[in-house]
Symmetry: C2
Subunit: 214 residues, 2 copies
């Protein structure tokens, strides 16, 4: 029942994005004591058709049961396995200003399998201070920490003017993925994947809702 059907390189970005959304809905359903769900109902919760839901999952295997639909706990486990979040990822935070400190306090990461194990900054004022239980480290020691803690992902929460200096340290380390909150486009070799966070998108969705329905 779980033979990944295709090369992950061929999975469209939009499908992977929907996996996260399916995961959240399934976690919510299970929370509400609902243990099975049809592709139709799951799709409706996200504004896609049941056929789209079924098609999305065919990239990764065969998960539903005829006449039953999906078992929530089972599908949650499968999606986490596909996304790679069935294991906890050690993550480094770079940039311990307001945003960085806020992100250190953000419980959503831990809940979904991401553990911030080290925090870094370039400022001598911050290095050595304690933030959310972590001692802020000098960015120059990133590479050692990455090796020691087996870190592949970093969360980048620095202002634009610090980005260049920080990218240099990232390039020297074994980091392979960056979640970028810095308001700049990072120029990086292909081996390092970047996902940019654009908080205005959520606000646009809200504006649409408010503008049209009130």
């Amino acid at each position: 029942m779980n033979s990944p059907a295709s090369n992950p390189e061929q999975v469209p970005k939009a499908v992977v994005a929907r996996l996260s959304l399916y995961l959240r809905e399934l976690q919510q359903l299970l929370n509400d004591d609902t243990h099975t769900v049809s592709s139709q109902v799951l799709g409706t919760r996200l504004g896609v058709t049941g056929a789209q839901v079924r098609k999305d999952f065919t990239y990764f295997g065969q998960f539903g049961y005829p006449g039953v639909g999906y078992r929530c706990d089972e599908l949650i486990a499968e999606i986490k396995r596909i996304l790679g979040t069935d294991q906890t990822w050690p993550v480094a935070l770079i940039g311990c200003g307001n945003l960085g400190q806020a992100l250190l306090g953000y419980r959503g990461f831990q809940k979904q399998g991401f553990d911030v194990v080290a925090a870094f900054d370039i400022s001598p004022k911050l290095i050595g201070t304690e933030v959310a239980g972590l001692t802020v480290q000098d960015i120059q020691t990133l590479s050692e920490w990455v090796d020691k803690e087996n870190i592949s992902l970093v969360i980048l929460a620095v202002p634009a003017e610090a980005a260049d200096q920080v990218v240099e340290a990232i390039l020297k380390s074994g980091v392979t993925g960056i979640l970028n909150f810095a308001p700049v486009t990072l120029k990086l070799p292909k081996r390092i994947q970047v996902v940019g966070v654009d908080l205005a998108i959520e606000l646009e969705q809200l504006a649409f809702g408010v503008a049209k329905f009130n």
Copy 2:
């Protein structure tokens, strides 16, 4: 060329979400001096088919030109009109701790048509202090500010334990939309729309990329 074809209530959430993504891609294309784009190319950038792109836009009108595709500047203007961000929205920020202060410094909101005009907190320690050029106001004065500044949207950046007190103030005001960073599910009447921000989703997408391609 721009007769909205259908009732906005019938537009699937996923379509509205894609509008924001199309908008970003079009802004990027224009930035790179590309002035027209086919539905096929626009779709490929986001991992959907050209047919899906064309279908998404049929909810709102007819925007492309045969043999040309879409004109980027024109489609940007149309999407902004649809989303309601062709005009600037005055926004209030509630919660001026680390996250709130980080969000006040976040330039992406302004760039996409959202102007944070007032900031609020419940803590006497913060009320009256200045953050990013705004004087932090007492949450009890929210209603007056909402009327005076014509605010419909608020960004909620408070810890879970402050949420109840703040929701009470929001209910007494004319606010109709909340972008919620607070790690709680808000119980609100239907007239108030809520969009929750889940930063772990972006990290999951990154994990998928890093796990599969390295």
